[in-house]
């Protein structure tokens, strides 16, 4: 649950159970180290056993001019003692490191929420840059929230004085002072952060010591300073979880791990061809460190070369993978058609971002579903899978490898900027529990007088994978239409009709080896189904859960296999009276559902660059049933 209970009035407290969850937002200048602070707070929270979800929200500029509103970088974390599936609707606590951070974020703070501001940064100059005429700390403009402010900058300078740093370097420790305070507020252990700082600054021990001193000073400040009622220590109990080993994972990490696992289960070496693009580059970074797993990573000269090299590697017998975001996927599209035509396995990961064109490179959106399903010239179907959360990306990656190798087809794996960057606790999987799906390269030479048949078909309609280097099976493939079986150039009407039909039928056959679509909460045949895909899972799930708690007859269906869809999808959807489809686009899955199943799916759309809030979906549920 994303509503805080620790800051409520006594009256409210009487009607609520103990604190379940808190949403904290750290906001500062993009040079203030807010992502680092948030990341470390996340780690300490995970180690305390809370469930959590995070939302890093940073500008597209690496270092925007200091103190400006467009240079504000924020990190939101929702953590609690119950299952957490979103980064939280509204922060309960906002830590604002300067006027701009306050200005950009304060309206999202829930009414009555707590603002902690660094008054040392509320100078006339900074106020002007943020567009404040006078300091909001000193008028009534923040009256609907609870405000505490102190001079974090000065307190930090005092704390690190013994280490003789320059003023600029000393002020850089501000984020650790703030983290120390946050650790005190939520009763967190400082030791993991101390260990991390020592490791991070191993080559500059004085910086490590200064940062540790700032961390301790922030913590001590919370402990000793009497700030009054709103500012006190809270204890959030550990969340219930299945017993086992846990770690935190971002979507980019789990995707990398899933691809490594998938390649291993298939018995293949991996080739990853990529080109830097936000927010997809993290995958290239993670994989490029894992050479011992038989991985070759290649930073190509452009998006096109990235996918072409991956297709080349698949042709030569490795698992070819490429990754990008929407604009880069657009560039790869022609090559994707060749992979479909030559029927080679390939994984294409799309970390979606706001668009079109450069759009909102650092903000999340799920508006590339049309591109994934329909976005190629000619009849060019391919399987499409979408991950719903950072942890789910691991399973989706394995599933993508399984489908690509079994059906000899490129597979599009959709994730988004939110999933890629957000962290959540992850129960470490037991890899012995995964059934291997080893690839068998075709090596049987044709009988005397018979030709090689690179386009012969098995029961799945997949063609054989023949590695160059295999004696007696020399053959040629390419993008020109070909004769069934032999694969020789053949433009004849019959050949094109048959090959087009077969390529589509093969992709449709994937539905035979994927699980039936389930209803994750609620009942089949409910009055209303909320159907989603991708990273809207969290807010939809919470909204449906709350609605069910309130007695509404609503169900949540979340689709992993976007194309082809599970075989039972038609019957399942037709069993509901009404369907709404929340999406961070203008209604793309809605169109596919209407097209495929002739159901009256109604859109619920949001393209603000921010994930859905639970309340928005709850309201839509109420309206749909009203």
């Amino acid at each position: 649950m994303a509503t805080a209970t620790h800051l409520i009035t006594e009256d409210e407290a009487a009607s609520h159970s103990s604190a379940e969850a808190v949403v904290v937002r750290f906001a500062g200048d993009s040079g203030d180290g807010m992502q680092l602070t948030g990341g470390q707070f996340t780690l300490s929270t995970a180690l305390a056993g809370n469930d959590l979800a995070t939302f890093p929200d940073f500008p597209a500029e690496i270092r925007a001019p200091q103190g400006t509103t467009f240079g504000v970088s924020a990190f939101q974390i929702n953590f609690g003692s119950t299952a957490i599936e979103t980064a939280g609707d509204q922060p309960d606590v906002l830590i604002a490191m300067n006027p701009a951070a306050l200005k950009v974020n304060v309206d999202q703070l829930r009414e009555g929420g707590l603002i902690i501001a660094d008054e040392g940064e509320f100078t006339a100059r900074n106020l002007a840059k943020a567009g404040y005429e006078k300091s909001p700390l000193e008028d009534d403009s923040l009256a609907k929230w609870q405000l505490v402010h102190f001079n974090i900058s000065q307190l930090t300078l005092d704390a690190v004085k013994p280490f003789g740093l320059g003023n600029k370097e000393a002020l850089r420790c501000k984020n650790m002072w703030t983290l120390g305070l946050a650790l005190w507020m939520f009763d967190r252990d400082r030791q993991p952060i101390v260990d991390w700082l020592k490791q991070k600054f191993a080559k500059a021990p004085e910086l490590a010591e200064a940062n540790i001193a700032a961390l301790n000073a922030g913590h001590a400040y919370g402990e000793t300073v009497e700030m009054g009622a709103p500012f006190k220590q809270h204890h959030i109990a550990a969340a219930p979880a299945e017993p086992g080993l846990y770690r935190t994972v971002t979507g980019a990490e789990s995707l990398a791990l899933g691809l490594v696992a998938g390649a291993k289960l298939a018995g293949l070496q991996m080739f990853f061809g990529g080109y830097p693009i936000t927010p997809a580059s993290a995958l290239l970074h993670h994989l490029s460190r894992l050479k011992e797993f038989g991985i070759t990573t290649f930073q190509a000269e452009d998006e096109i070369a990235a996918i072409c090299s991956a297709i080349g590697a698949s042709y030569a017998g490795q698992l070819g993978i490429t990754s990008s975001s929407g604009p880069g996927i657009a560039l790869k599209t022609e090559a994707l058609g060749l992979a479909i035509m030559t029927e080679l396995p390939l994984i294409v990961v799309n970390s979606q971002r706001g668009g079109p064109s450069t759009g909102l490179p650092t903000k999340t959106e799920q508006s590339d579903l049309y591109q994934a399903v329909y976005g190629r010239n000619a009849d060019a179907p391919l399987p499409v899978i979408a991950a719903r959360s950072p942890a789910d990306a691991f399973e989706c990656a394995i599933e993508a490898v399984r489908i690509a190798t079994r059906y000899m087809t490129p597979v599009m794996l959709l994730t988004d900027g939110y999933i890629a960057n957000a962290a959540e606790p992850w129960k470490v999987p037991d890899m012995s529990g995964y059934e291997p799906f080893p690839v068998n390269f075709f090596e049987q030479r044709p009988a005397e007088g018979e030709g090689v048949m690179p386009y012969a078909r098995n029961d799945d309609l997949a063609r054989p994978w023949i590695k160059p280097g295999t004696e007696g099976l020399e053959h040629r493939i390419g993008g020109i239409e070909k004769a069934p079986g032999s694969g020789n150039i053949d433009y004849s009407p019959a050949a094109h009709q048959e090959m087009t039909d077969t390529r589509a039928a093969k992709v449709n056959k994937v539905a035979e080896s994927i699980p039936d679509q389930d209803v994750c909460i609620g009942r089949e045949g409910a009055k209303l189904a909320v159907v989603g895909w991708g990273s809207t899972f969290g807010p939809i799930h919470q909204a449906v859960r709350r609605s069910i708690d309130r007695g509404l007859d609503v169900a949540h269906v979340h689709i992993r296999h976007i194309w082809p869809m599970p075989s039972n999808m038609s019957a399942l959807l037709k069993g509901f009276d009404r369907i709404i489809v929340p999406e961070m686009n203008t209604g793309q899955l809605k169109t596919v559902l209407r097209d495929q199943f002739l159901v009256d799916a109604k859109p619920l759309n949001k393209v603000s660059g921010h994930p859905f809030r639970i309340a928005e979906i709850e309201a839509a549920i109420e309206q749909a049933l009203g």
Partner: protein, 336 residues
């Protein structure tokens, strides 16, 4: 590899597919030259891959009895890079044209050369777009009249070998489709470890016939062709003329064949190579291996680094997924 490889003939390298170029096309001659050369290279058909882009020349792989991949326009070097990195034992040939390699695929040509992927790049230069019916290309001379430039082209052409040299190629050579020396150029390209760039002047009989006649015609060949050989003097016109360095102006000049200043060809001399490639009117056309200075190949560097980075590490998937700061949940901490 040689002793294990079966002896082949030119016929063994011809596929069963009907060749579909226009009658009289220079591509036939190049195909024959390649098929004739392959047996002499001591390579196995199954270890050989011809990769091409799009254009008339890019149909080439279908006619070779090896492995072949006819890809998309301009991107053959990128496919070749993936193929070679995935299996460095494969002998990779890239077949491309002036439009494929220097217009739509210019970027990939540059990068495959600077990376020095071990492969042979045969650029069939006919100074025209043949497959799309005769538009001018990036190597067409100023004033070329074509369906898209009915009043003559106005943009200046690129010189393929200069582009290659500027991109960091370590092997740059030229040949002529119908010339008897082409197999020797191909052999030299194959012998070179790294990206071997070979420009082949190829006559398009339909859209740009005789565009190279000014130096390929039998009657002018001796005067207009300078066949370079490492360690030998740069002589042409049956030895009557030679090239020397005009030291004051730092350029090449034509001198009498017996002049003591005639330069001996050192393929490692990049400065001279640049001058040979861009020789102006009145000079012969430099042919054969113009520049060769081997350097470590891309795939060998990748493999070496992969091995070094992996050395001493175990590929333990369970350990990998369990990495980082972890915590153990013993039992459900509380019931709600």
């Amino acid at each position: 590899m040689n002793e294990m490889t079966k002896v082949t003939t030119a016929k063994d390298w011809a596929s069963d597919q009907e060749v579909r170029w226009c009658p009289g096309c220079g591509d036939y001659a190049v195909l024959k030259a390649v098929q004739r050369t392959m047996p002499d290279l001591g390579v196995a058909r199954e270890k050989t891959v011809f990769v091409s882009g799009i254009g008339c020349s890019s149909r080439f792989p279908y006619y070779m009895a090896s492995y072949g991949f006819h890809t998309i326009h301009g991107r053959a070097p990128a496919f070749a890079t993936g193929i070679k990195l995935a299996n460095p034992e494969l002998d990779v040939w890239i077949i491309t044209g002036d439009g494929d390699a220097l217009s739509i695929g210019g970027n990939h040509t540059m990068h495959v050369l600077r990376r020095n992927l071990d492969c042979q790049i045969l650029l069939f230069n006919n100074e025209i777009y043949g497959l799309t019916k005769g538009q001018y290309s990036p190597t067409s001379r100023v004033g070329t009249r074509s369906p898209s430039t009915p009043f003559g082209s106005v943009d200046r052409p690129v010189t393929p070998c200069s582009f290659a040299l500027g991109s960091g190629a370590r092997f740059v050579a030229r040949g002529i489709d119908v010339h008897k020396n082409l197999p020797d150029v191909l052999k030299a390209a194959h012998a070179h470890k790294g990206a071997s760039f070979v420009e082949i002047y190829q006559n398009c009989v339909v859209y740009n016939d005789d565009v190279f006649a000014s130096f390929t015609e039998r009657s002018v060949a001796a005067e207009k062709q300078l066949w370079l050989k490492a360690g030998e003097k740069m002589l042409f016109a049956n030895g009557e003329k030679g090239l020397a360095l005009d030291v004051d102006r730092l350029c090449l000049k034509v001198v009498a064949g017996d002049d003591a200043s005639v330069i001996v060809h050192d393929p490692k001399n990049k400065g001279i190579a640049a001058m040979l490639i861009e020789m102006p009117q009145g000079f012969p056309v430099a042919l054969g291996v113009i520049y060769e200075d081997p350097a470590p190949t891309f795939e060998s560097a990748v493999i070496e680094q992969n091995a070094a980075a992996a050395s001493g590490k175990k590929a333990d998937l369970q350990a990998l997924v369990s990495k980082g700061q972890t915590w153990q949940v013993e039992k459900e901490p509380h019931k709600l």
